[in-house]
């Protein structure tokens, strides 16, 4: 446990080295909410505003989830850099087990995501209203699981790609597919309707339905806005995603890093 805490400390120190970059990222997220979403309020069709009072209210929970995703993914870039600069030899030489090292990395990625996301989630609560204590705990628990899963996914990509370019390309593909094929920016019902009309591939509709970003965003919406209805299936999706990528990443980190 102590070894895991040391890894957490190491990764948090690294995280705060990018504080100016984080300020830039937060300001970009807030500009999305306070400029883009407010202007979109005037353009979004009545089909959407019938269920949600405004696009601003719809988008605020989604924004917290995208912030969580982007920041939890940062750990992958660091691990990829360590691998390229061969810092991983030093990490492997530390007096701790491989499992402790892997768990520490996955956990720190997730916790950093939670830390970054907290002001965005607070902004969301301020404008949409605060959930009750049980709902708040459920939101934090699901977001934490999601953060761990994202951290695991980024680590798995980082250790499987040998160059920065390959990592950035893979990250781009994962980032944008998961972002845009989810209910972060638009209601899931809209994507499903497009699929039914044959204007969107069924495979991508299914991806949007099982996407953990959709599950987490819609869960916050269901608690704060009362719509869409709370779905246990989407929470199970987040659990599955988290379990697969946490264990997958730990395994990949131990196996691949040791081989190189």
């Amino acid at each position: 446990m102590k070894a895991v805490l040391h890894i957490l400390e190491h990764d948090f120190r690294n995280f705060f080295r990018y504080k100016w970059w984080l300020v830039g990222l937060i300001s970009m997220n807030l500009a999305d909410l306070f400029i883009m979403a407010i202007v979109y309020n005037y353009m979004v069709s009545s089909a959407v505003t019938k269920s949600y009072k405004s696009y601003f209210e719809f988008f605020a929970p989604g924004l917290a989830v995208t912030g969580l995703f982007a920041s939890a993914f940062m750990i992958g870039r660091e691990i990829n850099m360590e691998r390229r600069r061969e810092v991983h030899h030093y990490m492997l030489s530390l007096p701790m087990t491989r499992l402790e090292l892997a768990i520490g990395r996955v956990l720190s990625g997730g916790l950093r995501g939670m830390l970054y996301m907290s002001p965005l989630l607070l902004t969301c609560f301020i404008f949409l209203g605060f959930p009750d204590i049980l709902e708040l705990l459920s939101i934090l628990a699901v977001l934490f699981l999601l953060a761990i899963g994202i951290s695991g996914l980024s680590i798995a990509i980082a250790v499987s790609t040998s160059s920065l370019e390959k990592f950035i390309t893979a990250r781009g593909l994962v980032y944008y597919t998961l972002f845009f094929c989810s209910s972060v920016f638009y209601p899931l019902s809209l994507i499903q309707q497009l699929g039914q009309d044959g204007k969107f591939p069924t495979m991508l509709v299914t991806l949007a339905e099982i996407n953990p970003l959709s599950g987490a965003s819609d869960m916050i919406r269901s608690f704060l806005l009362g719509y869409p209805p709370f779905s246990l299936t989407s929470i199970i999706n987040v659990l599955f995603f988290s379990a697969i990528f946490t264990f997958g990443a730990a395994f990949a980190y131990i196996e691949i890093i040791e081989r190189k």
């Binding site: 100016w20 830039g24 407010i38 202007v39 353009m43 781009g172 944008y176 845009f180």
Partner: protein
Amino acid sequence: MRAIWFISQIALFGLIASRMINVPGGTLTTDTINLAPFQEHTFQVNTPAHLSGMTINLSSFQGLGEIYVYSPNGTLVKSDDFNSSANLYSFSYDFANPDLGIWTVRLVANASADEFKLYAYKAGDYFRYYVAGLSIMTLYSAAIFIGFDIYEEAEHGVFEYLLSLPVSRRQLVLGRSIGGGLRSFIYVGPLIGVSLYVLGAVNPLSFLVSLFALFLFSFGVSGMSITIAVMIKSSDRFDILMGVLDALIVRLSTAMYPLAIVQAANPLYGGVASFNPVTFAADLFRWGTGIEAIISLDNPLLPLLGIIAFFAFFTFVGVVIYDRRIEGGGWQ
């Protein structure tokens, strides 16, 4: 990475968002009326043939009163009540393939006098609108990159070498601005090609004018990036400033939404967007690609002059700043 972003924005975000976002494709009727207590008024909206969609926006200043919307055959299709206590000051109704003829919108004031506004417009194609804006956003972020190169050169001592070359400071700044702009243009060229394919046929003359404006825009953005990089001399601060600037300059422009909507959303946002070079470039590109009906650009000369002024300003300021900040002391 940028290509993945661009393609996913078109194929995923643009495609899906265009199904939920209405963009004005031309005004059908716009009117304002002041009604005394319990007075009625009827607006008429004349719809032409083959209209794919229509949106009617109604707003009440006091948030009181009743709305009744009738189709050309006299059927009541929508009815609502403004309600200030429920924050219902405006309503927006979308009609797909609306019937040809005269639509009637009846407004009934409540116990107090009130001002009502009606804005009816044809539905535009947000997908095409967005794809055009996306090209400008990509061009902007590619042109900004030259500033990061300046830091790299400073770090490796190339900056001093460049200053020692037998060229004037003016030539150096101008060359770098144009080089940065051209480089970004070459980089973004294939993506603009994809946009043109999506947008369809273009008027060659208008397109050449807008292409010239985009060149000046990318040179101007490169000049701005160089100027800021040389001014602040700290890659960390530059990174954050560019992030914030990118967030504001792109979102407070017409790259993603028409100016009329930005102004309606917030007059301050609208004021900034009106003088934003990204707005000038996006409007000109849409004009050049023949989708100006969506933005109703009255005079393409104004944004063109705006871009020329932007380019000239940052080239001039860039030369002055270069002289003052770099001369004699190198990078540090």
